[in-house]
């Protein structure tokens, strides 16, 4: 087994999800390299070198990879990845973007969003919005896999891998970055937070989310939302928790004014403790909640904050 992990980063820091992917890789084998591809990413490579169990960090530092454009990144990894048996990346929007392109370049299938490693060729993954868990076995020579970060613990950071620069830029020249509008928040990142407070349609408007932000700040929590709240324009898309949004598994998930459609449950039902606050006692969210409170959220939220 020889495994290549594609690191997730923003050119400045290594995303914590990468260390969860290392834990998945360690369940497959112990020869692990990490590729850091980006622009001005020397510091990220040094950080990746501390991931426990990693032998070598490959550093591809070129403007062509600065925005993780799938066309350029897939070409690079297709070249570097030929000699590995497994290529892993987190199932983030970046991993989901370039990994299938890479798989097709290598003429292999991709195994998406794995929850566990059963053996070097057998994995569990969710299907039908998590209403069923499939065990799948791959006979492809190179296994291209995306990993659900919340399903694996973070690895230790006591490694001391060597960093090796790889040469050659793959710039396909058919796509270019124009701009981005990224959420800025001092709160913990949604997929890594210990506590998540989420709001749904019951919040009624974007202004009322302030009630959740205040509560979240008291709890050191991240704030999420249901699709209904995002579609209604209350909050931006990066806050969506669900089948096609972010998958979270915090110690405590507090669902406020969320009815609990299966698509939302798919994104949060692996949370350790779930609290539901909803004035509709028949809301499906109560079926997965450890603690349900049938009440008006506008009464509950200020009281909750005061009680902490």
């Amino acid at each position: 087994m020889s495994i290549l992990i594609i690191a997730e980063h923003d050119n400045a820091v290594l995303a914590p999800v990468t260390s969860h992917v290392v834990t998945a890789a360690l369940a497959i084998g112990d020869s692990i390299d990490v590729l850091v591809a980006g622009s001005g990413v020397g510091a990220v490579a040094d950080e990746a070198a501390t991931l426990s169990g990693v032998g070598k960090v490959l550093l591809a530092d070129d403007a062509a990879y600065g925005h993780q454009l799938a066309e350029n990144l897939a070409d690079l990894v297709a070249e570097l990845g030929k000699n590995y048996t497994h290529i892993l990346a987190p199932a983030t929007t970046s991993g989901k973007n370039f990994m299938p392109r890479l798989a097709a370049l290598l003429d292999v299938e991709q195994i998406s969003d794995i929850l566990s490693v059963e053996s070097a060729d057998t994995f569990k993954r969710p299907i039908y919005a998590g209403n069923a868990i499939a065990t799948v076995q791959s006979s492809d020579a190179i296994k291209v896999i995306t990993v659900r970060g919340t399903a694996f613990e973070a690895c230790a950071l006591d490694g001391s891998a060597t960093v090796e620069a790889v040469s050659g830029a793959h710039d396909k020249g058919i796509s270019s970055f124009i701009g981005e509008d990224l959420a800025k928040s001092d709160r913990p990142e949604l997929t890594g937070a210990r506590i998540v407070v989420s709001g749904g349609r019951g919040m009624q408007n974007g202004d009322n989310f302030k009630l959740l932000y205040t509560l979240a700040d008291k709890l050191d929590a991240a704030v999420g939302a249901s699709r209904a709240a995002v579609d209604a324009g209350f909050v931006p898309n990066d806050m969506q928790v669900g089948q096609t949004g972010k998958i979270v598994a915090p110690d405590l998930y507090i669902a406020v004014g969320i009815s609990g459609q299966i698509q939302h449950l798919a994104g949060m039902k692996d949370s350790k403790v779930i609290v539901a606050i909803n004035k509709d006692e028949d809301a499906p969210i109560f079926q997965v909640a450890d603690y349900g409170l049938v009440a008006d959220l506008f009464d509950v939220l200020p009281e909750f904050e005061k009680a902490l």
Partner: protein, 279 residues
């Protein structure tokens, strides 16, 4: 004899004119290919078969994958704006997938291609068939859903990008076509990202790209008479194989039923002392 300075002005004007003409031609004949998938209706909560061999889809309501419907709607809007001239919809799967092609036609697609297979094809298999169709149809844009809600793979568009060598704009929440470029705003983990793609290109639709219309009855009737080609994978010289085998399917761990608390004070007390998630 034209002086060098004059020549360069002439060349630059001619270049712009030629470019303008090519762009016009492309715009005026842009064909959009929209692959659609027949899947379980999104409201259905599927159950695992007692023998754990797969999920039970007997007598379950089927529909077009919601993300595919958004892709169809976007193609129709581009045609309504005069940017696209023809919408070809393709579906690969069981013969009943014709229902989803007819639905796309009722929403505004012009013609269809149905490729029937006995076994559920893999993402790579679908991408290889779509590549053959792209070679034949030469679309200016391929619009797909970002993922299907059955296998939740989120792969086909990106794989087609690799096989055709086209640029890809995945998880699109906004799309505009200008000349020989597509500008795509993408929903990414941190927010929104905008990229520019050289056409022909592949775009996969996210939830907020648009809100699909409902088909009107006269359009549903008209759709029945729109042209549909029925094919098999061998017509395209593609043999479907799947190197990923489904060994078993199990239901997810059920959460134990919780309790209702009567007040905020009780809730906070339980979270602190029983669940021990608050200190």
């Amino acid at each position: 004899m034209i002086e060098p300075g004059v020549w360069s002005v002439y060349a630059s004007v001619k270049f712009k004119l030629d470019r303008h003409l090519t762009m016009r031609t492309r715009e005026n004949t842009m064909k959009i290919l929209v692959p659609v998938k027949r899947v379980v209706d999104y409201n259905v909560k599927v159950r695992v078969k007692p023998d754990h061999s797969d999920v039970d889809l007997a007598n379950v309501k089927m529909d077009m994958n919601p993300f595919c419907e958004i892709a169809v709607e976007e193609a129709v809007r581009l045609k309504e704006q005069g940017i696209a001239t023809e919408i070809v919809v393709v579906s690969i799967g069981e013969a009943k997938s014709e229902e989803q092609i007819r639905k796309a036609m009722a929403l505004g697609a012009d013609r269809g291609i149905l490729i029937t297979t006995d076994v559920a094809p893999s993402s790579l298999g679908v991408a290889k068939l779509l590549k053959a169709i792209v070679d034949e149809e030469q679309p200016g844009l391929v619009l797909l859903g970002k993922q299907s809600i059955d296998s939740d793979n989120n792969q086909t568009g990106q794989m087609l990008g690799a096989l055709t060598g086209m640029a890809q704009g995945t998880f699109a929440s906004k799309l505009s076509i200008e000349g020989d470029k597509a500008q795509v705003t993408r929903e990414i983990d941190g927010g929104l990202q905008t990229i520019s793609l050289t056409l022909p290109a592949i775009v996969t639709a996210d939830l907020r790209l648009n809100e699909p219309r409902y088909a009107k009855l006269p359009d549903i009737m008209k759709a029945k008479r729109k042209p549909l080609d029925k094919k098999t994978p061998s017509d395209y010289g593609v043999t479907l194989s799947n190197n990923v085998t489904l060994l078993s399917v199990e239901p997810p761990a059920e959460r134990k039923g919780g309790i209702k608390v009567g007040s905020v004070a009780e809730l906070v007390e339980k979270l602190k002392n029983e669940a021990k998630v608050l200190s």
